[in-house]
């Protein structure tokens, strides 16, 4: 640890949609994460502070919040990498309704994954042989690139298109749809490509890449969305020729 000052000035959002920042002084520790800081405040200063976490090791996706204005997973974010002038400002994720303090209502985020047909639709039952998908097949490689999403909402919170167009499905839902489009076992892709098209879907993405820049799992939703744009447009043009409107 660099020899910074012995304490951190931490501003934490308190309240719901309406509220304000409350200041705390938190002792610095070696290898301290932002989640450690929030936990210290709740245990030592303010038991009423609400926040979410579960695994603490970057698997569950529940501890995301804005740190100095940027959405991050806090359990794997070291204070030393994000602190500015010994100060941290912590706020709930943007683009989602605030429940209380650092907790947001994730309903709409998960509902949009459903709207994008983010559920696997196969044909085999548990009594049939498991489908064989070769790990090095091109489709599997494409799916692999996006499959490690933990649903933390960092991309959704970072997306400007979600901010100015609330109905937009968002990077996580579209990335989920893309991994299923690339899943050769799935049989519902015509409906999925329709579900992700149009004003609320992939074609509204501006390819600004904030989701890709911020994703803690280093996924590129931007690339998946570009793939969806191409396939959905081809499918729509095929629909023209077949007259299947």
């Amino acid at each position: 640890m660099n020899q910074e000052s012995a304490s951190l000035h931490v501003q934490v959002w308190r309240g719901g949609e309406e509220g304000g920042y409350q200041e705390y002084t938190v002792p610095r520790r070696e290898n301290q994460t932002v989640l450690d800081v929030v936990t210290w405040i709740q245990r030592n200063e303010d038991p009423g502070l609400s926040y979410r976490y579960a695994c603490r090791v970057g698997m569950c996706g529940s501890c995301a919040m804005q740190v100095n204005g940027i959405a991050r997973w806090t359990c794997r974010t070291h204070v030393s990498n994000v602190v500015r002038n010994d100060t941290l400002q912590l706020a709930p994720l943007s683009n989602l309704p605030v429940v209380k303090d650092l907790v947001v209502d994730m309903d709409v985020f998960f509902e949009k994954i459903q709207k994008a047909k983010g559920n696997f639709t196969g044909t085999r039952t548990r009594y049939e042989e498991v489908a064989r998908v070769l790990p090095d097949s091109p489709q599997r490689q494409l799916a692999d690139a996006g499959i490690e999403c933990i649903g933390c909402g960092v991309c959704y919170s970072s997306c400007d298109v979600v901010t100015w167009r609330f109905e937009y499905l968002g990077p996580a839902a579209l990335n989920r749809a893309w991994t299923l489009v690339c899943d050769e076992r799935d049989v519902d892709n015509d409906a999925r490509l329709e579900a992700v098209s149009g004003d609320a879907g992939c074609h509204s993405c501006h390819s600004q890449g904030a989701c890709t820049l911020r994703c803690p799992k280093l996924i590129s939703p931007t690339a998946g969305i570009a793939g969806l744009k191409r396939l959905a447009a081809r499918a729509a043009l095929r629909g023209d020729k077949g007259g299947a409107e």
Partner: protein, 121 residues
């Protein structure tokens, strides 16, 4: 998904496709247009030179006529997107951008007609 939603989704996907295609094709047209201008300008650039090249030339009329179609369709789709993202209802943005696209098309074709078949003022 309702039938109307499905139709809108497909229309959105097609709009995206045609805007990309028109944009890509316009690159070729813009390149030809710029090269011709550069060559023409290097020999002295007058209105008489331009008209001498374009008048009664079906090839140039076809070239710029198609260029105008590409530019207008590209602009109309883009304008609709800008309007919708600015908060305009889609059912209002679509006819509005179509009308503006059509006006641009007629103005562009009128200009092409003038330099091809028009008589001097």
């Amino acid at each position: 998904m309702m039938a109307a939603d499905r139709r809108q989704a497909r229309q959105g996907a097609r709009r995206w496709y045609w805007q990309r295609l028109s944009g890509a094709l316009m690159l070729i047209f813009i390149l030809v247009h710029l090269i011709v201008i550069l060559l023409a300008a290097s020999r002295g650039f007058t209105a008489a030179d331009v008209l001498a090249r374009t008048q009664a030339s079906v090839v140039w009329a076809g070239f710029y006529g198609l260029f105008v179609v590409l530019a207008c369709s590209h602009a109309a789709i883009g304008l609709r997107n800008v309007l919708v993202e600015s908060g305009c209802a889609a059912r209002l943005a679509a006819p509005l951008s179509n009308v503006i696209g059509l006006v641009l098309l007629l103005m562009g074709w009128r200009a092409v007609w003038a330099v091809t078949f028009g008589v001097g003022a």
